[in-house]
């Protein structure tokens, strides 16, 4: 019996330690935002009084509202387009299967894990030839059709009841009406989970915006957080403020929609 509880105690200890390590950097971020740059560099682990100075400094470096608007705009537009295009395709690949669409889908799956690094150069040349460098369209367009999200919707569509479709057709609904008025409302939890993953990916995207966006007016949050690290005297306190702002939306989404969040991550693997 003592052996059991010893093991149990070690389990609690280990889990507590790992939980602490997992959560600690978030505390560090909040504490850091209240300290001066020098104190952050010295690892000061108590709240300071520099929070408002740090916020003021951050807002003086960048047009923060504009950056947030840019980031949110790109993330919302990108997410909406991805969900629309990919859910239409995922639905159609499942419901309107033909020999050819099955072959096409198999080809898509082959390309599921093509690394972005291999697309980066041609995409950059294409986007600059199209005159889309430094535009939001240039950031959004290449990411709209995601094979993973198409696959995710196709898998989910397998659970969409045939009877609903049949009933809707007997009622005289056209195919697009069935999709809009029957499929979309019925599949809202699938849409919710997909929204979370796609929105997060867009909000947190770094490499592609780094390539496409080049003027100060068009920056997104990841780019300014990254740009603050360079220079002779990086303002650590202000960096912490920026990091909080960059992390906040995804943390909020996570705590509000924890279950859907995890569902979205597990995605098609179920």
């Amino acid at each position: 019996m003592t052996r059991m509880s010893l093991g149990r105690g070690l389990t609690y200890l280990a889990l507590s330690l790992v939980s602490f390590i997992s959560v600690f950097p978030f505390f560090w971020m909040i504490i850091g935002a209240t300290n001066t740059s020098a104190d952050v560099n010295l690892g000061k682990m108590s709240f300071g009084t520099a929070l408002f100075d740090n916020i003021a400094h951050f807002f003086s470096l960048f047009d923060v509202p504009r950056v947030l608007l840019n980031t949110a705009g790109i993330a919302v537009a990108g997410t909406a387009l991805t969900l629309l295009v990919c859910s239409l395709a995922g639905y159609a690949f499942e419901v309107f299967r033909t020999r050819y669409s099955e072959r096409l889908f198999a080809l898509f799956l082959l390309m599921l894990s093509i690394p972005f690094s291999a697309l980066m150069i041609p995409l950059f040349i294409m986007i600059s030839r199209a005159g889309l460098i430094n535009t939001f369209a240039g950031v959004i367009l290449p990411g709209i059709a995601s094979i993973f999200i198409i696959f995710y919707f196709r898998q989910a569509t397998k659970a969409f009841p045939h009877e609903l479709r049949d009933a809707a057709r007997i009622d005289g609904l056209k195919e697009w009406q069935i999709f809009l008025y029957v499929y979309m409302p019925v599949m809202r939890s699938t849409y919710a989970a997909a929204t979370i993953i796609v929105f997060m990916a867009n909000w947190n995207n770094y490499l592609w915006p780094l390539i496409v966006l080049q003027s100060n007016d068009n920056m997104v949050i990841t780019l300014i957080v990254s740009s603050m690290r360079s220079g002779y005297n990086p303002q650590q306190g202000a960096i912490m403020v920026a990091t909080i702002i960059a992390t906040l939306p995804t943390v909020i989404i996570f705590f509000l929609l924890q279950r859907r969040f995890v569902e979205g991550m597990l995605g098609a693997v179920k």
Partner: protein
């Protein structure tokens, strides 16, 4: 993410051979798929083929001439490429096993229904996945500063006698990157293990426990074999992720010191946007990643299929 069960796809295709779709349905079906097909064609299929073509071209900027295998020969003579390749391989060979072992152990501990505060632990361990890569890189960079928090903590615990130069020392910079990635992705992988463990028949554990099988043996002989497909899945996705490592090395160490944390993706970026642009050679380096990813995906597919037959 995961490759689908081809058997099902083929059966599906056979059943559909004599298409029962009406003309209207056919038209609607292709119309629904059209935007995705066009976009995948333009932004995925075309670039990946163009990139392949580019990898046989030599020259600066957009002035290409056909160079045959010149770029591949250059790979073998390029110490920076070999450095980047070596670092990338080192990162996944060391980091992926550490992370997946941790993830599996956490998942097993959390899967015990009699454990208290399970939800709390799970949420805490999962939390790092919420941080954006750039944001958490900034946090790690400041925590691991020369006179920073981690060094202070290690010094005051007496674990080290002088500060470790995490960002400036080639060896410790690698350790730092590995630590950072492990922090960010362990909880993510743990979720997959937890989901898989929930499908494992609990009575088998009970029987083993009653027979006096110790906990470690239950883990090795029951849990691990049951988790095999997920272990495979997470190792392949993690390796693919590590092959594309970029955000962290840029934002924590900038690939330094002296290229000690340079990765293939960062080298491609540098070749394209930082140095005199050499698209052909950069495309060749990117195809090294494509080939590695393809081999890994095939390996996963092959092993998963074998398992299903037996």
């Amino acid at each position: 993410m995961r490759l689908p069960n081809t058997e099902v796809t083929f059966l599906g295709a056979k059943a559909m051979a004599a298409s029962r779709l009406s003309r209207g349905e056919l038209i609607n079906g292709w119309l629904f798929m059209a935007p995705a097909i066009v976009l995948v064609g333009i932004f995925l299929i075309f670039p990946i083929l163009w990139s392949l073509w580019m990898s046989f071209q030599v020259g600066r900027g957009m002035n290409f001439t056909f160079g045959g295998f010149a770029n591949i020969v250059r790979l073998t003579q390029d110490p920076v490429f070999q450095r980047a390749l070596g670092n990338t391989i080192l990162f996944f060979v060391v980091q992926v096993p550490i992370m997946l072992t941790l993830a599996a152990l956490m998942a097993v501990a959390l899967n015990d229904p009699s454990l208290r505060f399970r939800g709390l632990f799970r949420t805490a361990i999962f939390l790092p996945c919420v941080a954006s890569l750039v944001a958490y890189s900034a946090l790690f960079k400041s925590m691991f500063a020369d006179a920073g928090l981690i060094n202070n903590a290690l010094l005051s615990l007496g674990l080290i006698s002088e500060p470790i130069y995490w960002i400036r020392d080639p060896f410790w910079a690698k350790v730092l990157i590995i630590t950072a990635i492990t922090w960010r992705w362990t909880g993510y992988n743990m979720i997959f293990y937890l989901a898989a463990l929930q499908n494992v028949d609990r009575s088998m554990y009970e029987a083993a426990r009653i027979d006096g099988v110790p906990a470690w043996a239950r883990f090795v002989y029951i849990t691990i074999p049951m988790l095999k497909p997920v272990i495979l899945f997470t190792s392949v996705t993690s390796t693919i992720g590590t092959l594309q490592l970029f955000d962290e090395v840029v934002n924590i160490t900038e690939g330094g010191p002296a290229d000690a944390t340079l990765t293939l993706s960062l080298y491609i970026y540098n070749l394209t946007f930082r140095f005199m642009p050499n698209f052909g050679y950069a495309a060749t380096v990117s195809y090294v990643i494509v080939v590695a990813v393809a081999i890994l995906s095939l390996a996963q597919f092959y092993i998963a299929r074998d398992r299903r037959k037996s």
